[in-house]
Amino acid sequence: MADRLPMVDKLWFILPEVALFLGVVVIFIMGLSHSKRVRDMLPMITCLSLAVAFGLTWWVYEGSRGQTLLSVNPNLMLMPMVGKYVKMSACAIGIILAMVSVGSVDRRLEAAVAAGHLPFDPIRANRGEFYAFFLLSLMGVMLTCNANDLIWLFLALELTSLPTYIMVAISRPPRVAQEAAVKYFFLGAMATAIFLYGFALLYGSTGTMILTEMQRAFAAQAKADVVNSFGIIGMILAMLGICFKIAAAPMHFYAADVYEGAAAPVTAFLAFVPKTAGMVAIILLLTTLGWSGHPSTGLPEPIMTTLWMIAVLTMTLGNLGALLQRSVKRILAYSSIAHSGYMLIGVIAGPANNGINAVLFYLLVYGIMNTAAFAVLAALERRGQEIETMEDLAGLRIKHPGMAVVMAIASGSLLGVPPLLGFFAKLYLFIAGIQAGQIVLVVIAGLNTAISAWYYLGLVTLPIMAKPSAQSETIVRSPFPWPRIAGIVTAVAVVVLPLFLGPLIRASQAATTPASLTTGVTISK
């Protein structure tokens, strides 16, 4: 192994990212073109490079070269197959998100230029930057999966987050977006400091940056019964810092303000992309501990306690926060917090109880159904402004029956109404939790689901059943068809995908193979 450079081998697995990077280069330059036709092609090129990355991911992992590399060098990555699943789902949902975002950036500027009021000035145009950062952030998620090094992991996580700060700021003209972006940036920087500190402690206690070696180091420490407690504290700090990315307590405070401030397509992006990266990072970090601590869940007790508290607090604060909101985006922001809490159940359950695949599956499902909900917000507007409150949605069926149904399906699925996709994802998580003996946790999650019914049913019934309000009368379709198409596609997916549950779940199971994530050595304390 010494004569083989792991880096060279790993380059093969980041081919999809390279494809995305080429897309970024093209988009950066094209966004500054003076031709409107070229600028309007940007979302298409974004989708195209994502589609290429999607295909490449499959080829890279399934092709003989990838298989050989993985078998020759098992230490290449900590969880080699997680990349295939996460990258493919990130690309697929990325395409939908790009569709949702069509027309939202630079709307006024483009309109003014088209009307001849203004000459096109590249320094004022943000569209190219938006789509380039869009792809860069997705690249960050994809790179996170391949991380086998704390520095790589750190850079990948930051690559996921940094573009999103700017995306929030340029997503729409009003000041709220900029306020949201500043908040997001500062709190994000603080969270980064926290997990970086955790990484430092991890390095200090194991003497290595490489995750696979760290796993062996922890196992050796456990075998000798001298686990360095700074390692555990470092792990907890790293987890807490990364909790910012997944919007989990106690790092969730920014979510409501930032989600509300950003434009709907960006909010949809924020709810899926950093969350996926954060979840994958947490799973990778915990895997270094060997998953054989707690007899049923595999985590050492302090970590388990911390995760347990984070999960309970996150889902409870998320759902309680959502109860009082009238703004649809704030409700969805809090619901995003609550869903992170549900997902942590799977992390606690661990790979032995199918918990990790349940999380990965849930991430995909959450991405789909959440995007559907935001697509509705992106597809409708009032005098060029986004729709905001619940009252805006009332009686949507009269004028926009399609969007009303999409909203109802998306919220029903977020609530977990059978037979929609969200139900099965939640069921799968809860089954994992129960298998791990976490009855109390699952009962709390069940109660939380019941609480969440309060606001999700509002989102289901208001568009479908209520009478149109004075506010909702003035709502019109946005001039771009793509958000609508994205909403319909995702809603159909929510309804139809349960029929393909078997293949989907098998794919998520394949992501956590080989099952020997565990070192078999128990970190007892």
Binding site: V8, P122, V226
Partner: protein
């Protein structure tokens, strides 16, 4: 059992302590040793010729900043290039490692060139 060998952290502690002491000693020393003269010219903020007139929150043209940032990109690039160049000569020619090194720096330079093109197209160098 958790083992924390605190002895290993003694050097860190000493370093922290030294840093704190260094600051305190320096401040105290200036205070004690430094000559103190007062006067109309002496008490203004910049004694080196610039007159602080008007508000400090003056607006500059944003292009100064953009240009400065662009300069910074290339400035930092050079800082990275130097250690690379020093190390590269020590690698065995034609080896995998050397190829990787070359590839990396080419990628790095490519991104810088891209940044340059982007800045140019964005109109950073247009000074009107």
């Amino acid at each position: 059992m958790l083992a924390v060998d605190l002895n290993a952290y003694i050097p860190v502690g000493i370093l922290v302590l030294m840093a704190i002491i260094f600051v305190i000693v320096n401040l105290a020393a200036t205070h004690v040793l430094g000559p103190k003269r007062h006067g109309a010219e002496k008490d203004i903020a910049y004694e080196s010729g610039m007159n602080p007139i008007g508000t400090a929150r003056k607006r500059f043209n944003v292009r100064f900043y953009i240009l400065a940032m662009t300069f910074l990109v290339f400035d930092v690039e050079i800082i990275f290039l130097y250690p690379w160049a020093v190390t590269f000569t020590k690698l065995a020619p034609q080896s995998d490692e050397a190829t990787l090194f070359l590839g990396r720096i080419m990628f790095f330079i490519a991104t810088s060139i891209l940044a340059y093109i982007y800045a140019w197209r964005k109109g950073v160098f247009r000074w009107d």
